[in-house]
Symmetry: C2
Subunit: 151 residues, 2 copies
Amino acid sequence: MNRAERKQADPDLGVMAGQVLFSLQKELFGALAEQGHPALRPRHGAVMAYLDEAGSRATDLAQQSGQHKQVIGTLVDELVELGYVRREPDPRDRRAKLVVPTDLGLDQMAKSDAIVADIERRHAEAVGAEAYAAFKRVFKTVAERQRRGLP
Amino acid sequence: MNRAERKQADPDLGVMAGQVLFSLQKELFGALAEQGHPALRPRHGAVMAYLDEAGSRATDLAQQSGQHKQVIGTLVDELVELGYVRREPDPRDRRAKLVVPTDLGLDQMAKSDAIVADIERRHAEAVGAEAYAAFKRVFKTVAERQRRGLP
DNA sequence: ACGATATAGTAAGAGAAATTGACCGTCAAG
DNA sequence: CTTGACGGTCAATTTCTCTTACTATATCGT
């Protein structure tokens, strides 16, 4: 069996992560477009996926999404323009600003969470609820360890 | 518990996939750089990750990696320039060309596979070999279903 | 309180990358 | 031998990423 076939039959962790990430993004933003949010693209996910209802700081969004803070800045510019968020001063730190979702942003967040939950429900049905729950537990551990560079 | 905390405590499938993909890529290409392949960047993975020892066609690489064939074309240009692959005519189809790894390419492929295998071995040790094997089985099913857009 | 250092956010431009539409040569079915 | 499909490349446009630098505010140590 040659390498190409091995990679198909037994794909590695990175390959599978990429397949899931990109195909899930495609489905998510396709569904969002149909549900009234056609202007959003996957890159906006770096903000919208982590945004808190009460507002988040750009630095926190940068750290959680793994993007540079300049990227978050331009994404927030776009999202302000599109009406999804607004900037407010952070009362607890005058250097900082809070990125706060508008009603449109809250609607997108709710729909987005529902779409992803539905996708996961589908997979859980296919492989069994218990197996899926175990899968997610291990995945979370692996993701955390990998992110932190643990041995 | 607010949304930001929920997303931390119980991240969704897409978020975890992204965390694993990007942190694994970072570790992989960092290690490759230390092992004599400093010029390669994650984007080259679209070719090198799927390349067969005996050569692969650009269209196959495009389909497997999910990239447009134009992207594969420019990646192959770069990899030819860097000495990792060469283009050969495909004897079985005169339209097609085979992307064939050079000795340098074969070295990179072997090292890359070893590094990823080592990363996976670490995770398997942390969560238990059996649990990790089950995790990968479910992951493969999920990745395949998600990629194909199955219900 | 004071100065040194660190952090939050922004700006601007160079460089890299993705996307689109078109094109040529080859293949395969009828 | 014609027609439609496929493999690969070209070129132009748009989008994205990275780097460096700067202002304002906060924090720490003395």
